[in-house]
């Protein structure tokens, strides 16, 4: 047992301390944290930036996670269909997964660049736009643009996990359904999908947590701009702590993030569990 002590010290204590700081008024330069109970949380209720960043965080998380699951399921089915060059395709789709988040951000800045970017060049040469669009600085386009990059980032892992799930489903089951006259869609809907539910729930829950807590990618792409349009909760908490020195408030934001994700996941897992039971 003593060999577990350093692990407890290193991984549980800092977190416990962080959660506690969320209930204090600690700022940079203060002598020490003073317990102020729900003070930070009361302040949050009237903080426009808090509501705005959590609203953006919710939109980003739902859009990215849904995109990853829907596109990932499609891709996993294609990779499991015995098409030509399947082995090569299974390797190529992993590319974004292996790239560091900062580099992902830089590459997409190149793609989205107003003058030199690939996207604008492609759109103008197709005659779809006349004026180049500054995707990452445009009030309407910035959030959709970073969401696309978010989906691109998480797609490989989601696909690989779902492919793993598909491969555990015995072929005989689908053959039996086909013999009974089930169409391809019916085979998918009534044989494959129900058996895939546990894996789907697991990977979507993980992606949901990771996406809500994501930082590096969007920081490199937009730094939260323009005017806070892509300021996810983590970017907001980072600014509060390390730009303004409001450590207590930043930790309180962290606590609320845990609660939001926790409640959402609890609800989601419970509803999935109930629907498979019933």
């Amino acid at each position: 047992m003593p060999s577990l002590v350093p692990i407890m010290l290193l991984s549980v204590l800092p977190l416990a301390r962080g959660i506690y700081l969320g209930f204090t008024d600690y700022t940079l330069g203060a002598e020490g944290p003073h317990f102020n109970f729900m003070g930070n949380h009361l302040y949050m209720l009237s903080d426009y930036q808090f509501w705005e960043s959590f609203r953006i965080g919710a939109a980003w998380t739902l859009a990215v996670t849904t995109g990853e699951i829907v596109l990932g399921l499609g891709l996993a089915l294609l990779l499991n269909a015995g098409l030509p060059l399947q082995g090569l395709a299974r390797v190529l789709i992993l590319v974004p997964w292996a790239m560091p988040p900062v580099i992902k951000g830089l590459v997409w800045r190149l793609v989205y660049h107003p003058d030199a970017g690939l996207l604008n060049r492609a759109l103008t040469s197709l005659g779809l736009t006349r004026q180049p669009i500054n995707w990452l600085s445009d009030f309407a386009w910035a959030l959709p643009a970073v969401i696309i990059v978010g989906i691109w980032t998480g797609l490989p892992l989601t696909t690989v996990v779902l492919l793993g799930g598909l491969q555990t489903i015995p072929v005989e089951l689908k053959e039996a359904a086909a013999l009974d006259g089930a169409s391809l869609w019916q085979q998918f809907r009534y044989v494959t999908l129900p058996l895939l539910i546990p894996v789907l729930v697991a990977i979507s829950s993980l992606q949901f947590m990771w996406n809500f807590n994501s930082f590096g990618l969007v920081y490199v792409l937009t730094e939260g701009g323009p005017a806070g349009r892509t300021r996810l909760p983590m970017l907001f908490a980072y600014e509060e702590a390390f730009r303004y020195g409001n450590f207590g408030y930043a930790a309180a934001l962290g606590n609320v993030m845990v609660m939001v994700v926790g409640i959402a996941l609890l609800y989601y897992v419970r509803s999935q569990y109930l629907s498979t039971k019933g």
Partner: protein
Amino acid sequence: MKRNKTTARAVMFAILVVYIVFLAFPLVWLVSTSFKPAVEIFTRQATIFPRRLTLENYRDALGEEQILRSVGNSFKVSTLSALATLGIAMPGAYVLARRQTSVNKLVAGWILTSQIFPTILIIVPLFLLLGRASLVNTHLGLIGVYVVWSLPFVLWMLQGYVRGVPVELEEAAAVDGANNLQIVSHIVAPLVLPGLVATGLYAFINAWNEFFFGLVLLKDPDLMTIQVHLARFRGIEGLARWGPLAAGSIIATIPSLIVFAFLQRGLVSGLLSGSVKQ
């Protein structure tokens, strides 16, 4: 009927190609940019293959003291933090794998739930602690943070590998009079060596790709890791120097690509065994 099937497969293959282009093209574009002379990067008629291949971007990137130094910093911090994490996790992993107690379930539950906590809750207390110990803006401080951060997953992966070593081997050694320390160092460690290497590589690349903690803790440009350094190339300066930046990005991605190619299967199965255990 037969023809229908061929058309369907052709359509499926076409969709698969679209997926692959979406996922892999940004990296291809980055590689291509890194080999293009400056004039070619900003021409209207961009080509995938550079019309004139050049290594000048790589020469510029490697000739720059800052980039070379930041690669060295990343290498140092990642290697030391990976070794320290393994050293701390190994005894704990052994205990976890060999004793079927309630502690085991507790730790497994902890590792999964720890995914829900945003990094702001870990970095605020650690930042304050490191500040008191004058370890902010030092590599030692960053290494400490990486150990804390990688520990849960490393512990989880390692205990899986220890489980694979037959307990009979240890019992035989104990009968021959070996003490616990000898058993771990002479019997278990050599057998889990492949697992140690895989886990160590995971911890290494976790630190190599990491951005947020480096951004928060390192202020001195001479200490910065490659990710923090590359993220600072933005705006007008960054665009004017896209060639060297692309070359630097490729250099920063190569270790990650190699490790992911090597670990891909293990990472997915590790994740699955952790998340969808029935």
